[in-house]
Symmetry: C2
Subunit: 313 residues, 2 copies
């Protein structure tokens, strides 16, 4: 189908998500003019070399000027500063959005800086890889991935629909929910799993010399996948945990209680408890497969890989 194009789209930040968004918009012709701003001169040079933007200004303010839609693709902790810089530039009817993994804090940080004549519509594409920077992006990153849009109370339906249309144009499946609910769901589906991965890799890093080298050698036993997510962008994830603190602490509390129970079962040789638990967890897996949410290769919210042969029937 042909998608209504955004006249002037400004992307702030040319990291993995920003550069993927720009590539997708360019490839699918979703904007007449695509502006990609980045404060880092080296990144701007690279963006010009890669050639997926019409204009590559240094500041968010410059990018936002006359833009119909501005999407901040920066770590959650930078949302306030970006909104403060962009706000005064927003023209009547302009839409300000973002791609942060936390939505409640972003809404709080950005809302005060958005003039009444413009629209704030935060969103979160549930997609990514463990790589960072303008070279890590690719146009198909959002295909068949969820993009959760979290409009504030009383948001303009037309503005919300414009943003949703852009994401659908990039191949994403759009879902709407409140920022608070988003943060709770993502805490358990993404934030806590990432924290746990970062943690176990850290634990291994502290091991005695000889052991540590073998942990790397035999990492295929399961550990290797944790090292994959534990190599995700530190700044982005630091901000996720700082800004989604309450939901993460809540879910982490439940996780720890449950882990303590399993630990106790192991210590006292309670095989029945372990067996019962390991059996129950199979049901969740089945639901995911039934809902078609599964891709053959685990990808920690990253791009799906090819189906391994032994699963092809």
């Amino acid at each position: 189908m042909s998608v209504p194009r955004v006249k002037r789209l400004a992307v702030i930040g040319a990291g993995l998500i920003g550069s993927s968004l720009a590539r997708a918009v360019r490839e699918k012709h979703l904007a007449e003019t695509l502006v990609v701003a980045d404060r880092d001169p080296a990144v701007r040079r690279r963006v010009m070399e890669l050639g997926f933007a019409d204009e590559v200004p240094a500041t968010a303010a410059e990018a936002a000027r006359d833009a119909d839609m501005v999407i901040a693709c920066v770590p959650v902790g930078a949302s306030r500063a970006i909104a403060a810089e962009v706000g005064p530039e927003l023209k009547p009817g302009a839409i300000l959005s973002d791609v942060g993994s936390v939505k409640g804090a972003v809404l709080e940080a950005m809302a005060p800086h958005v003039p009444a004549h413009a629209h704030l519509v935060p969103a979160h594409p549930v997609a990514g890889t463990e790589f960072s920077g303008p070279d890590a992006g690719f146009a198909s990153l959002f295909e068949n991935r969820w993009c959760i849009v979290t409009p504030p109370e009383g948001a303009d339906p037309e503005a919300v629909e414009k943003l949703a249309t852009l994401w659908r144009g990039m191949g994403a499946n759009v879902e709407f929910m409140s920022a608070q609910h988003h943060d709770l769901v993502l805490a358990i589906t993404s934030h806590v799993p990432h924290l746990i991965a970062y943690n176990i890799v850290g634990t291994a890093a502290e091991l005695e010399e000889t052991l540590a080298s073998e942990v790397i050698k035999f990492s295929a036993g399961g550990f290797r996948d944790f090292t994959r997510i534990a190599s995700s962008d530190p700044t982005m994830w630091r901000d996720v945990f700082l800004y989604n603190r309450d939901a993460v602490l809540e879910m982490l509390g439940r996780f720890t209680e449950d882990l303590t129970a399993l630990q106790r079962a192991i210590r006292y040789g309670d095989g029945d408890t372990l067996f019962a638990h390991f059996t129950r967890t199979r049901a969740i897996r089945r639901s995911i497969i039934e809902q078609g949410q599964e891709t053959a290769a685990p990808d920690f919210g990253r791009r799906a890989a090819e189906k391994p042969k032994h699963e092809q029937s």
Copy 2:
């Protein structure tokens, strides 16, 4: 290269590993006669239908009679019973081995039942999938995967080499270490990661109704990969934790201490601690890639999938 064939090879248990082993042996012509025993009549019928065995007896004793090599492919908790049944049947020079994920407890359980004229050489192929049963197996499961052989003190070098040769014949890379050291290494590279995955999926299963359904829907954020390992065979994993208790509790203790520190950093907004930790964990990932232990797709010790496009340079 042509591999010296085992005259009569007996595989006890036709689950994922046993049936994969049998398929590999058959495909690579590594045995003159391949005997696959299983106490479950339904499994025996299926093995005959699949046709990867020359003989399909009901008991381990029957399978071990006149065998030159017997490999127990059963949950770790069943090793003692299998050894007790097989021991008296072992002919002079025969080799008894296994594929258990725990080696210290297996050595202890099996050794007393092996006659002086036979050889006990435990081993652990670090490979698998979350699927179970004779239909889940495939001949290439062990290709380019590690097989850790843990010979007891004073084991016969010739017997050890014979087993190693069989595994190399199936495409595995053989490594030797003590049972105790194996159990410590696997506790952190495989056992604790699996326990954590089982645990977080269990935590999600307990969530409020509405939340639980969305956890499944948005599982791509990272959670989905945990559900994958959390659907592994409950009996096998119950036994792993019961029989590698000390090493698992030791590593779990370190994991929990570290997680508590991260939790505290989140609670008090200590971004520097989080950032420093998330940066340090990147080094381990690099070492794994440098050592060529990485396959593009995370597979939790499972088979490698195709390299996703965005990683092909």
